[in-house]
């Protein structure tokens, strides 16, 4: 058998293949004279095409809501933080605050970014660090109390402000958990939709 001729009709023609081509060629496709009767308009399959769009919209909405909750808590923390600062911090004090922030969460913000933000708005440095408090929040609250004492030059009523801070930290934790849960649910839904679309496309129309 001439492999090349069978593959791409090159080389010496194989007599048996040639004979089959002549015989079977009588069944070859002939394009019909009439054009294909296409429908008036291409109907969109609303269900199939809308699923990813709806899922994406739902995911976006969830993210916006979760982000709004988180921002709201952040702002309430920042207003809490600002109220205890009664005098402008000196550069030395700013550096101390930066040290506190970098100790709590060194992997999130490099010192250069913290310094940049401090130069833009000094009062917000501590407030911005509060939402990032994780397992070491006790250390932060302890240190920040100390820092604030240096800033203001007087002792605050420690019990009520400490309780308030703890409450805020708890609320922050809750909001964080809710945000993570919302993101997790959204991601699951998107994966499910993606799998459904993939499966239906592989099956093709019946």
């Amino acid at each position: 058998m001439n492999e090349d001729y069978l593959w791409d009709k090159s080389g010496e023609p194989d007599p048996e293949i040639e004979r089959l081509e002549q015989t079977l060629g009588r069944l070859r496709y002939k394009r019909p004279a009439e054009p294909l009767p296409l429908p008036a308009s291409t109907r969109w399959s609303f269900k199939l095409n809308s699923q990813p769009a709806l899922a994406a919209a739902a995911a976006l909405l969830l993210l916006i809501l979760a982000g709004g909750v988180w921002l709201g808590l952040t702002r309430s923390n920042s207003s809490e933080g600002n109220s205890t600062i009664t005098s402008g911090p000196t550069p030395t004090e700013i550096r101390e605050q930066q040290q506190i922030v970098s100790d709590v969460r060194p992997s999130v913000e490099p010192d250069s970014q913290i310094e940049k933000r401090a130069s833009q708005d000094e009062g917000k440095v501590v407030a911005a660090a509060v939402p990032y408090v994780g397992s070491r929040r006790d250390k932060l609250s302890g240190r920040s109390t100390g820092a604030r004492q240096e800033l203001t030059g007087r002792r605050e009523p420690s019990r009520s402000s400490r309780e308030r801070r703890e409450q805020i930290a708890r609320d922050g934790e809750k909001a964080k958990e809710q945000l993570i849960l919302a993101l997790h649910i959204t991601s699951e839904k998107l994966n499910r939709v993606q799998k459904k679309i993939q499966t239906s496309q592989e099956r093709g129309p019946v």
Partner: protein, 197 residues
Amino acid sequence: MSETGTATNLLFIAGARGASTAAQPAMETSPDARLVEDVRRGDRESFGRLYDLYGPMVHGILLARVPWGEVDDLVQDVFLVAFKRIHTLREAGAFGGWLAMIARNRAVDFHRRRRETEELPENLAQRSSVDPEAAEALALIRTLPEAYRETLVLRLVEGMTGPEIAERTGLTPASVRVNLHRGMKLLREKLGMEKQP
């Protein structure tokens, strides 16, 4: 879809280049893919062009599976379905493989519906309007495994070369080559057996 149809489609998927793993660079779009994009934008003439280009492939795939007398109607059905669902095709470059799958599914659907209704015996419909020698050769090819059957019909009936079959159907050239070689070997054996007294 029957289990055989599902298994066949899986075999073809396994041998297919597939849209997501195509070796084509991202920037390069084939002429056929551009036609598909034009159709998506509402250009019906481009779909007519695709009909011309892929008609032989669809005809061959169906001829390997359904009675000869039914093929022309089913070719039209396949293209109508493709036109309606072209927006669901993710990769324009995978149009050929996608269309081939529609054709195979349509053939499976045809047989499923036939089982549910009364039909005329196949031979009568066939022999009244087709060359007997060609019908006999086609009947022999139809006894071969589906992957070989389809490739041989595209080669021997539709006159497509191996590279053309690979390009149109989305199969890899290596798969097509193997199917052609093994299919032809089996066909020769059957032809040899037919000739024996």
